[in-house]
């Protein structure tokens, strides 16, 4: 494949309306993560005892909370922490998991077996429980809490990359490239990695959605942040205590979380649809423990997955 064909003038995936909407939403979220606290119309911490539980108005576009704080400002100021820690988790998963997934195909059976068993063991640890447990051990902070979430994303990236690499490394053109005298590293880089990339893009988007949910949920539980600091989940959890007074309030942070996660999922779907059914493996359909995987040769252990 030449460089010319790879660099299309514009990514055809982004021409789909759903993908365009998703990218626009994500751009706004990233913008808020960078400039949110500077652009917030009011101080996210300013208490106004005269305006508790107010609905949306011109002065408070998204209303006020139980201390009269401006909800819009709190959500804008809370974006950075949520997005950065979600990036942290996805970054850890991608940087450790993906290279391991590629390497394991070429490093022999023993390495592959060990890596797979460790991945199996990691996948049995439920991420939220593990994250809470790690904050007990390492101290209460969102950065500490998202570290284990990243570690638990490692097996997800590892498996998806391994499966895709395994599939493409058996292709005839890879054999041909090797016969033509290409060095192993060259063949992996040019003929295998490039094919694995779309799979990685889908997994990254899905993992980002999962990480963002985990951040919101951890902050909702009150893990990792001190109370006045604004976070998406924190706003949601404080609204929950006053449902009788303001039953509509939790829908605002809830919708913000759902829209962001939905945008990431829509982007992942758009990439998957372009690649076609069967071309990409979704980590969801990959059994957590393959009880038969060690009893069969390496090749047979990975059956094709149907498109979800």
């Amino acid at each position: 494949m030449t460089r010319k064909t790879r660099r299309a003038p514009r990514d055809p995936v982004l021409r789909q309306p759903s993908a365009m909407t998703a990218v626009a939403i994500l751009a706004i979220i990233v913008f808020l993560a960078i400039f949110g606290s500077a652009l917030a119309p009011q101080s996210p911490l300013a208490i106004d005892a005269g305006a508790l539980y107010k609905g949306p108005s011109l002065h408070h576009l998204l209303g006020t909370d139980y201390l009269g704080r401006d909800v819009l400002s709190r959500l804008m100021a809370g974006t950075r922490l949520s997005v950065l820690t979600a990036f942290e988790a996805v970054g850890i998963g991608l940087v450790i998991g993906a290279p391991l997934g590629v390497a394991t195909v070429f490093l022999g059976r023993a390495f592959d077996f060990t890596a797979n068993r460790v991945a199996d063991a990691l996948m049995t640890l439920p991420s939220i429980f593990f994250a809470v447990a790690v904050t007990a051990a390492l101290g209460n902070g969102l950065v500490q809490a998202m570290f284990p979430v990243g570690i638990l994303l490692v097996p997800v990236f590892f498996r998806v990359t391994r499966a895709a690499t395994l599939e493409f490394s058996r292709a005839q053109y890879v054999e041909a490239a090797e016969l033509l005298g290409g060095s192993k590293l060259h063949v992996i880089r040019v003929h295998v990695l490039r094919k694995v990339m779309p799979t990685m893009a889908v997994t990254t988007a899905q993992a980002a959605a999962g990480a963002l949910l985990a951040v919101s949920f951890l902050t909702f539980l009150g893990i990792g942040v001190q109370p006045p600091t604004p976070t998406w989940g924190g706003v949601l959890s404080s609204d929950l205590d006053y449902l009788n007074l303001a039953p509509w309030a939790p829908f605002i942070p809830g919708a913000l979380i759902a829209i962001t996660v939905g945008a990431l999922n829509a982007l992942a779907d758009a990439y998957r649809d372009r690649a076609g059914a069967g071309e990409l493996r979704s980590p969801v359909t990959d059994p957590v423990i393959k009880t038969h995987s060690t009893l069969q040769p390496l090749e047979a252990a990975d059956d094709r997955q149907p498109a979800a």
């Binding site: 049995t124 447990a133 939790p250 809830g254 999922n265 059956d303």
Partner: protein, 340 residues
């Protein structure tokens, strides 16, 4: 997928029953052989987490005034914290296998007792959630597949995408607002054990179960729709129709039975997600479950409780996965299991 189904069907016809049973047994045995190392590895991760923490349990227990270096060293010896990590781990694991997970640093209540007290809450809502997910997801997926392309199919697809985007705790809050705060049909929070009456118990677990079940039901419905659509296009379905079998029998015996595998796998894989959801449901509905126990223990750095809860939860995940795999291999009775 289609090829795999045909291969499974062909294998079932060709192979004698005894050989199939033996294949299923070896699959289960192989599963157990893989299970033990995984359990050991994940329990080691769990244990070293607490042991590697920078907390100093002896000093915490003794309090600031009494924590002289000598007293701390003595208590470390009593608690076994001065031994090498691997020895500590072995002591802990060999006790844990016998049901002794140690005692809380602060309350001196045995960890297994606290867990046994909290577990029924989570089991109630988790089992309720599985039943609801199968009922809702199974019905929606089947109807969508039969009426493929119709408005029901489009509605189910749309609802599934919407629900699976919403995290369990947001679904829970919506349910509370609609059914407890708005309509006042059901209690908004709290838990009542089944000993206090089945009615109140069901009333308290139905909303948390539903909150947990909806995202899983969406996954199940989508997966079931996809595989049922492809199964219903198979030649053997046409063959069954030609032979004049009633539609209901074709759908259940020939369609659903062959299409259920991927959906069941999804259900098994979603179990860890359901556990996370159970923590969410506990928080939203103020239920005294394992998640709350873990949160309290994490705040006070009560390491034995944290380790115990994590061990029990991961053991559950591992066993559930094995059970799902066994159920699949028995259901399909094919040597290579089901290719999902």
């Amino acid at each position: 997928m289609a090829v795999a189904e045909l291969r499974a069907a062909g294998g079932a016809l060709a192979a004698p029953r005894r050989r199939r049973t033996r294949a299923a047994a070896s699959r289960i045995g192989g599963g157990l052989a893989v299970l033990i190392p995984i359990l050991v590895l994940s329990s080691f991760i769990t244990y070293s987490l607490g042991a590697l923490s920078n907390s100093n349990p002896a000093a915490t227990i003794l309090g600031q005034d009494a924590a002289t270096p000598a007293a701390v060293a003595h208590l470390d010896q009593v608690l076994g914290l001065d031994k090498p990590l691997i020895v500590q781990y072995w002591d802990w694991l060999s006790q844990a296998v016998r049901g002794n997970l140690g005692v809380s640093y602060f309350t001196q209540i045995p960890v297994s007792q606290s867990i046994a007290q909290r577990l029924p809450v989570d089991l109630s809502i988790a089992i309720g959630a599985v039943i609801l997910a199968v009922l809702i997801g199974g019905t929606a997926g089947t109807v969508a597949a039969i009426r493929r392309g119709g408005w029901i199919d489009r509605g189910v697809t749309l609802a599934c995408s919407a629900v699976s985007t919403l995290p369990a705790f947001v679904v829970g809050i919506i349910l509370v607002v609609v059914f407890a705060v708005g309509a006042r049909w059901l209690p908004a929070n709290g838990y009542v054990g089944p000993t206090a009456g089945v009615g109140p118990w069901l009333a308290h677990i139905i909303l948390p179960s539903l909150a947990l079940a909806l995202p899983v039901a969406a996954d199940v419905a989508r997966q079931l729709r996809t595989s049922l659509v492809s199964v219903l296009e198979q030649n053997y379905i046409t063959g069954a129709r030609v032979r004049g079998l009633p539609n209901r029998r074709i759908l259940i015996r020939h369609g659903l039975r062959n299409a259920a595998g991927p959906a069941l796998t999804i259900l098994g894989n979603d179990f860890p997600i359901m556990l996370a959801g159970a923590v969410a449901a506990e928080a939203v509905f103020s239920l005294p479950g394992l998640g709350q126990l873990l949160l309290e223990a994490a705040q006070t750095r009560d390491i034995p409780v944290v380790q115990g809860v994590l061990l029990v939860v991961s053991a559950f995940v591992i066993v559930i996965n094995l059970v799902v795999n066994m159920a699949l291999s028995l259901l399909y009775r094919s040597a290579d299991g089901v290719s999902v």
